[in-house]
Amino acid sequence: MELDRIRNFSIIAHIDHGKSTLADRILELTETVTGREMRAQVLDTMELERERGITIKAQAVRVTWKGHELNLIDTPGHVDFTYEVSRSLQACEGALLVVDAAQGTEAQTVANAYLAIENDLEIVPVVNKIDLPQADPVAAAAEIAELVGEDPERVLRISAKTGEGVAEVLDALVERIPSPTGDPGASPRALVFDSSYDQYRGVVAFVRVVDGSFSAREPLRAMAQGTRFESEEVGFFSPTMRAAEALGAGEVGYVITGLKDVSRLRVGDTLTSERNPAGEPLPGYKDVKPMVFAGLFPTDSDDYPDLRDALEKLKLNDAALFYEPETSQALGFGFRCGFLGLLHMEIVRERLEREFDLDLIVTAPNVAYRVLTKAGEEVEVHNPAEMPREVERVEEPYIKASIIVPKDFVGPVMELNTERRGRFDHMEYLSEERVLLVYELPLAEIVLDYYDQLKSRTRGYASFDYDVIGFREGKLERVDVLIAGEPVDALSLIVHRDGAYARGRALVDRLREEIPRQFFDVAVQAAIGSRVIARETIKAKRKDVLAKCYGGDITRKRKLLERQKAGKKRMKQVGAVEVPQEAFLAVLNLDGGKR
């Protein structure tokens, strides 16, 4: 296809603002699928995606409209996947920015719109759901026009549900979005904007060809990682896989690589031909680093091998997922897992539980820290227990948070952000009613219950999104928990100096309630280094006897003791103290932490 007949675009929308419905209508209108094949949200394949209404993995679909080849690149909708979103956007020249006529702009839309603008994409603003009785298309159009610096008159007003205005959207795509640039004669280069693992075919790379062309049975190389393979097949989705002879400059499609592991072909890498290699890769490749870490442990330690296998399988399709074995005094064998963000963590956890039927303990998440030790060594710490006690400097990841709320809730949101060590950046009125607040916050302050707090303090009205903006030094302390003088690795945490006392106190109180009384007094302490900041004593038991034991009681008493003995075996030993797993869970468990 001639370059000037190709349009590559994606759809940016908040969850539930109608992205998938609009995609479905486009497929219908362009006769890419027949009515009979049509099922709602054809692009979302995974069960989980359908249920949560979230698109986890991008896919690209080719449609034709009035002699043009349109490639719809479906982007993941959440900030955790910002890098993937940015790669998907890089594969496009334009984007449909879809806003719900009743809801107006959401924080997520703002973040992704900015991302699109940064990528020099032509934005085609669309107000959707104009058929809803509570729709206010004029206000929504004004908001979105303001956001992207566009004339409100040029904002398209549609109903993806009824199909009204969708043809005009396709026309606008052709008219407004520039055709791709690229050199069909140059050495081939293609951007990998996503990949997927298929049990039978291995890694399938989703690519946007920039220069030259790619065909099957061709030795290829991923330039950043250096991975070499032979393309087994090239083609495109329409909406199912269709093999093609070649993918030319400007086109979007897939390459079946035969690779057995998605981590060998990372998103953002550039494919080139081994026979005619390009000199320079495409710009922007980044090795995405997980920012949020948590321990995943099987509830039943016998399930450890199953958990390992499950993580291996997930990793095949999720290059951003990181895991390494972790042994916890308290929870036994498990894995320290790294995620792009909280949603990513939730998705992984749900998939492990649902698709692999595992019963998991997920510890409260923490962020990645960059530490300069006294010895002058720089280390990245993913687990509070690994934080060196003697440090020169600790840096923690910061985010830029965009929060959109009705103006009445500005006060509570500011209050929350201040509590969470937030630094006010700026505030904008998106409309008379709605305000965009931008704050810089330590990521650590949002990983626990920030979102819940935000929702409850704004009666559910706030929308929130964030972007990691880098690492900054913080007054961070490692708080250790000691039970009878023994530090408990699993319970260490890293907190800001100002919150250390309160967190230490809360931990100690909680443990005192959860640890059963022993044969001796047990001190439970929270300490920073050698300085104890909170202490409680669990008083020794004074009696523990079976009152009566005569001829008719022996069997029952023996069974009682056997049960007691078995109970002791399930306890975790911290020094001489027996701590039930439940006590650790109460403190460590993600859900427990939220309470």
Binding site: F519, R542, A547
Partner: protein, 375 residues
């Protein structure tokens, strides 16, 4: 009369009670006074079936219940006279049933020891326990027994009764001691799940648990201070120096704690002989019918593996104040746990390492300590 086996301890269960106390979970039968005679017939028939296991002379015979002394006097006498002789013959009695006549009858029938279910000396607490006797009944019963020349009287006390304050407990102990019993059994009230009592008082007991935590220590301190030997977790007897040199420990119960074989007759009674334990059916009708037909009653049998028997020897032996001889029991004990508990001052090893005993504090924590010690 004599058998040719070597079981020297015989327990007879007499289940009849005037009413059922809320906290009790023993096998009891309320009313049915018309069946006392038939029950004694059945007991004697069962004895004939089992006589082969008994030694020619018994060390101990124990009539427990229920309320053995509620059994009609004529039937009780018939039973006592038909039972094989023993060095120690104990009968459990509720205070209100002990008249001078009954005391004389028991004495006359060879009973050497009477265990009185006093439980408390405070009407308010006795009524919480559903006990029929009042404090005066207890005193009257003791006097009647003394008048009949009983020189071995034991009182049962219960502590940790809902609403019982520490001074209530002290008062109970004082009043019991004032009666100069040779022996005392002091049990913490157990609110057993599913009993009427737990239903009524469980929540209150849970609330008082912390306040009552010290009661066990209080009981032990008071009784040992008064010259009693704390010879078993819940049992105390006058020191020999205060009892003309007599060893007043219950010989029958010592047999249980030392892991001896015993035969139990009657409904719900348990026997342990040669590595087998069995419980006779608790159903009166079936029991009577079987024995009337000349057959043994239904039993629930539990074979005791060697390993289980060793564990039991440890758990029972450690209830006593004498060191447990470890010969043959080493496998039942977790050596690491012994070391740990020794460091905590809860157990002591004999000098040659061949015996094990709980320290005083270890005895207060005997249940948990034993659970930890068992391999």
């Amino acid at each position: 009369m004599s058998g040719c086996g070597d079981v020297r301890h015989l327990y007879i269960h007499l289940p009849f009670c005037a009413s059922r106390c809320g906290y009790c979970d023993f096998v009891t039968v309320v009313g049915r006074s018309g069946q006392h005679g038939a029950y004694v017939d059945a007991l004697l028939a069962e004895l004939e079936l089992e006589r082969g296991v008994l030694a020619p002379r018994l060390e101990s015979l124990f009539l427990g219940g229920g309320t053995p002394t509620l059994t009609g006097p004529r039937e009780l006498e018939r039973l006592l006279r038909a039972l094989p002789p023993a060095d120690e013959v104990t009968v459990e009695a509720n205070p209100e049933t002990v008249t001078p006549e009954l005391a004389a009858l028991l004495r006359d029938c060879g009973v050497t020891r009477v265990s009185l279910g006093a439980q408390s000396f405070q009407p308010r607490l006795l009524s919480v326990l559903d006990r029929r006797a009042g404090p005066d009944d207890v005193r009257q019963a003791v006097y009647a027994l003394r008048d009949a020349n009983f020189d071995n009287v034991s009182l049962d006390l219960i502590y940790g009764i809902p609403g019982q304050s520490a001074s209530d407990l002290d008062a109970d102990l004082s009043q019991a001691l004032a009666l100069e019993p040779e022996h005392l059994s002091c049990y913490e009230l157990e609110a057993k799940p599913g009993t009427r009592f737990t239903h009524a008082h469980g929540a209150e007991l849970a609330r008082q648990a912390e306040a009552m935590e010290s009661y066990f220590e209080r009981v032990v301190a008071r009784l040992t201070g008064a010259g009693f030997r704390w010879y078993e977790t819940a049992n105390f007897c006058r020191q020999p120096s205060l009892a003309d040199g007599r060893d007043l420990r219950s010989r029958h119960n010592l047999a249980y704690w030392r892991g001896r074989d015993y035969l139990g007759l009657g409904i719900g009674a348990v026997s342990t002989i040669d590595g087998r334990r069995w419980r006779t059916t608790p159903r009166l009708g079936r029991y009577l019918a079987a024995l009337r037909a000349g057959q043994g009653p239904e039993r629930e049998v539990e074979p005791l593996a060697e390993r289980v028997r060793r564990s039991e020897r440890v758990l029972l032996g450690l209830r006593l104040d004498e060191p447990l001889q470890l010969a043959g029991l080493a496998e039942a004990v977790d050596a690491d746990a012994v070391n740990r508990l020794e460091r905590l001052g809860l157990v002591q090893r004999g000098e040659a390492g061949d015996a094990l005993a709980l320290t005083e504090r270890g005895r207060f924590l005997g249940g948990g300590v034993t659970a930890e010690l068992l391999a």
